[in-house]
Structures are given as C-alpha cells and as structure tokens.
C-alpha cells in the first residue's frame, strides 16, 4: 500500500492524477456552457427551470459538488507541486532562453499553466460568490416558485468591469484548455502517431470554441440587442 502511495505521488503519478482530475473538470466546463446557452433566449423560464431542476436534486447535487471540489483541490495540488518541483529542479535559470521550434509544443499556453490556473481559481471563487451565493430573486414558472437566476445574470452583466473580468478570465480558460486537454492524454500515456496530432488539433479547436462560447454570453447580455434587460429587471 505504501508503495502504491509512493507511485501516486511520483512524477508520473501526480501528472496522471492531474490529467484525470483535469479531464473530469473539463466535463463540467462542457456541461456549463451547454446550460448557459439558455441565457441567449429572451424567455427567462427555460434557464430558470434548468437551474431549478439541478437544485431540486438536493443532496445528490451537493454530493456531485463535493466530488468536483475534490477534483479541483487535487488538480490544484498536483499543479502546485509540479510548479514547485520545477523551481527546485532548475534553481539557476538560463540567461538567454530560446525555443527550439517544431516539433516542440512549448507555447504561451503550456508555459503559463500555473498562472492561468491561479487566475481560474480566483475566477471560480468570485463566480460562486456572485451567482451561487449571490442575491436570491424569486420568480414563478408554471406556478412554481423558483430562484430567478436569469435576472441575476442580466443584472450582473450590465456592469462593464464585471464583463471585462469575465471575458478576460474566459480567454485564460481557453489558454488553460489548449495545453491541458491534449496534455492530459499524453500524461496518461495515451500517445499514438495518428491520434496524437488529431488530439492536439482538437484541443485547440475545443479551447477556442468553448472560450468563445463563454465570452459571447456576457457580451450578448451587456449589449442586450433584443432589449431583454429592461423587462427582466422591472418584473418584480
């Protein structure tokens, strides 16, 4: 058992842990954007009903949240140890650093994972405070009382500074996903001369599409081309 534990925290083990927790967190990111698409409709009910359905899962939802929190902490912990061991492994850095070029996959994305990761940590904290633990508005859908999250979102994204921070964070999420998604496969030993180039390209497309998806939502709501905000905020 002690030997298995040592293996888990070896250089290979902790990267495998980072990969598995990272990919599981990606499933959350995928689901979150799909749910957010309901915010593009002018009708608040579908989004509020979706949120209500999730919240009515009760204890099951809390269990899922705790599991994801555990993934998050393990992912962060492995990331920090990789960063610290890197600092220790090269205490004296190069006076001049260069890039060797193709087939290197060293990019802005790959070399800033610790920074993008820490920004995302701050983002998630603020994000939870704003929405999950934010003001509780209520609405009735089909006679059922439920939380009016649609209104809270429209209210929040009327603030230019909040929109700016959100968009910036989502650019950084894209950067994190670009390296993270392909790298997870490699860390688990899943390399194939045909599939790996495809996974590398897929990671880029996925990162760009998902970041743009998350960026489009606050911008859409901020400019509010269909004048939804007035109706939503006045409906008390």
């Amino acid at each position: 058992m002690a030997e298995e534990k040592a293996k888990l925290w070896s250089s290979v083990g902790k990267k495998a842990l980072m990969a598995v927790t990272g990919l599981l967190l990606v499933t959350f990111v995928i689901e979150h954007l799909l749910g957010n698409l309901l915010l593009f409709t002018t009708d608040p009910d579908p989004f509020n009903k979706y949120a209500y359905t999730l919240m009515s899962l009760g204890k099951l939802l809390i269990a899922v949240e705790l599991v994801f929190l555990a993934f998050f902490i393990l992912h962060m912990y492995s990331g920090l140890t990789v960063y610290l061991s890197k600092r220790k492994a090269r205490p004296d850095s190069y006076r001049k650093s260069g890039n060797a070029g193709n087939p290197s996959k060293k990019t802005l994305s790959s070399t800033t994972m610790i920074i993008s990761g820490l920004v995302l940590l701050v983002f998630v904290a603020i994000h939870l405070k704003t929405f999950k633990f934010g003001p509780h508005y209520t609405t009735f859908v089909d006679g059922v009382e439920m939380r009016d999250l649609y209104k809270l979102v429209y209210q929040t994204f009327a603030q230019p500074l909040y929109v700016f921070w959100y968009v910036l964070s989502m650019v950084i999420l894209g950067l994190h996903l670009r390296h993270g998604v392909w790298s997870a496969f490699q860390s688990l030993g899943l390399h194939h001369h045909r599939f790996t180039p495809a996974i590398y390209t897929f990671a880029l497309i996925f990162a760009v599409v998902w970041a743009l998806g998350f960026i489009a939502m606050p911008i859409w709501i901020f400019f509010d081309p269909l004048n939804v905000r007035q109706d939503v905020l006045n409906l008390m």
Binding site: E4, A6, K7, L8, S10, S11, V12, G13, K14, K15, A16, T81, V82, S85, K86, K88, A89, R90, P91, D92, S93, Y94, R95, K96, S97, G98, N99, A100, G101, N102, P103, S104, K105, K106, S110, T111, M113, H179, W182, S183, Q186, S187, L188, G189, L190, H191, H192, H193, T196
Partner: protein, 250 residues
C-alpha cells in the same frame, strides 16, 4: 570561398562547482564558416592561452555526434539552432557575421556545474544502474533470428536506442525533467521480447531514481524532442507512463 565571421561571444564562466558564475564577453574574429562549433571554441581557447588567460572548459569527445559528451546551450537552445544535431556537428555557417552568440551550460539541479560549461551528468548513470539487468541465457551467441520480432517494433526500439544520453532533453525542458532520456532507455527494452521479464519493475525503478535525482516533472512541452540530436519522440515518454501506471496494478 565563404567570408570569415566575426562573433561576439557571451560565455558562462564559473571557476568551480559552488563558485558564483557569470557571462563573460569575448570577441572572436576570422572564424571560418566551415569550422564546427567546438573548433570555434578551440580557436577561442588558443587565443585565451596565448593571452595567458584561463581557457573555457567544455565537454567533448568523439566530435561525430555519437558519444553524447558535448553539450552547451547556444542562444537559449540546447545543441544550438540546427535540428537533429549535437553541438559537435553544428557548423559556424549557421551563424551570421557580427552575431552575438550566448553559450551556457546545461542547467539543472541534477546536473551540477563542474567548471564553466562542463556539467556532471552522473545522474543519468545512476538512473541506468537503477534499471538493473535483463534476464538472458548466458553462453554461446544465440541464432540471429531465433526470436521473431515484428519490424515496426524493432524499428521503434532502435529509434529509442539511438539516445546518446547527452542530456539536452533535461537542458531544454522548462521543468528540467529527464523524462525523454529515461523513457528512451525504458522503451528500447520494453519493445523487445528480451526486455519483458523485468519490464514493469524497470520502469518503476528508473522513474523512482529519476525523481530522487531531483529532475522536474514532465509537463508535455515537447521541447525535449525538438532539441534531441537523435530526434527521439515523446511517444516514448507516453510508453514510460503506460508501463509505470500499469505497474501500480501489478
């Protein structure tokens, strides 16, 4: 005939293992573009000796790209700007007249500087030793084709075995990880029938020794593959990880 080059060299000078080091500027004229990089350093050292100065220490041996002794990080890239080439086979025609060229040692905690550009790569020997033996019958030489091996496997094992253990992968890795070296040494045996009996034990022992030597973790930047004079693929790193992770369940 190609014109001679004048170069501004910035070279790391360090008197000994725990002494402070610094970059020192040297001007070198009349460098033939046909010289190898190490010959250029020989000329510099001749100049320094004639001036009564201490020559620059650097590692070298075969000077034909097979021994793995030469090192150097040239303008921030291990083994310099030419792909698939060790420093000894890099020629001065790759540089421009008047260019500033920085020359640093391979930097890693596990590769302590001995002097100037010479580093101690003994950590690699200890990793190899940790890999242990392979079980083969002693005695007369076996028949060449007694054990059939698919060509693809033989080829890939040979690609891994091309590793000359120079340590450029460590030097280039942003994390100073030795994964490409260790994985090449694991792969060359893991792909062949002769390497099977100790396959998983070998992977765990070598990885444990790599970690104990103080190398960093692999973050999949693949910068190692790009500087490797033998262009060894990070596919071998994935195989090392598979073998290691599988060993957890064995």
């Amino acid at each position: 005939m190609a014109t001679k080059l004048s170069l501004n060299l910035q070279i790391w000078r360090q008197a000994g293992p725990d002494k402070p080091g610094k970059m020192v500027d040297y001007k070198l004229n009349d460098v033939s573009p046909d010289m190898s990089f190490l010959e250029m350093l020989d000329v510099l050292n001749d100049d320094l000796l004639q001036k009564g100065e201490e020559p620059v220490e650097f590692d070298n041996d075969c000077r034909e790209g097979i021994c793995g002794m030469c090192s150097l990080v040239i303008n921030g890239v291990a083994h310099g700007p030419q792909k698939g080439t060790a420093t000894c086979q890099l020629h001065m025609r790759k540089f421009k007249d008047g260019e500033t060229v920085t020359i640093e040692p391979f930097r890693a905690k596990a590769f302590p500087v001995v002097k100037d550009l010479v580093v101690d790569r003994g950590a690699f020997d200890r990793i190899i030793a940790a890999g242990g033996y392979i079980s083969i019958n002693a005695g007369g030489a076996p028949d060449a084709n007694a054990i059939p091996i698919p060509k693809e496997y033989a080829d890939e094992a040979m690609d891994a075995a091309a590793c000359i253990g120079c340590g450029a992968c460590v030097a280039a890795c942003p994390n100073a990880s030795a994964s490409l070296f260790v994985s090449a040494k694991i792969s060359q045996l893991a792909l062949l029938p002769q390497g099977q009996p100790e396959r998983y034990r070998r992977a765990t022992s070598m990885v444990a020794q790599m970690d104990a030597e103080g190398f960093g973790d692999c973050s999949n930047h693949a910068e190692c593959e790009a500087v490797c004079p033998k262009e060894i693929s990070i596919a071998h790193i994935a195989r090392m990880k598979r073998d290691y992770l599988r060993s957890v369940f064995k």
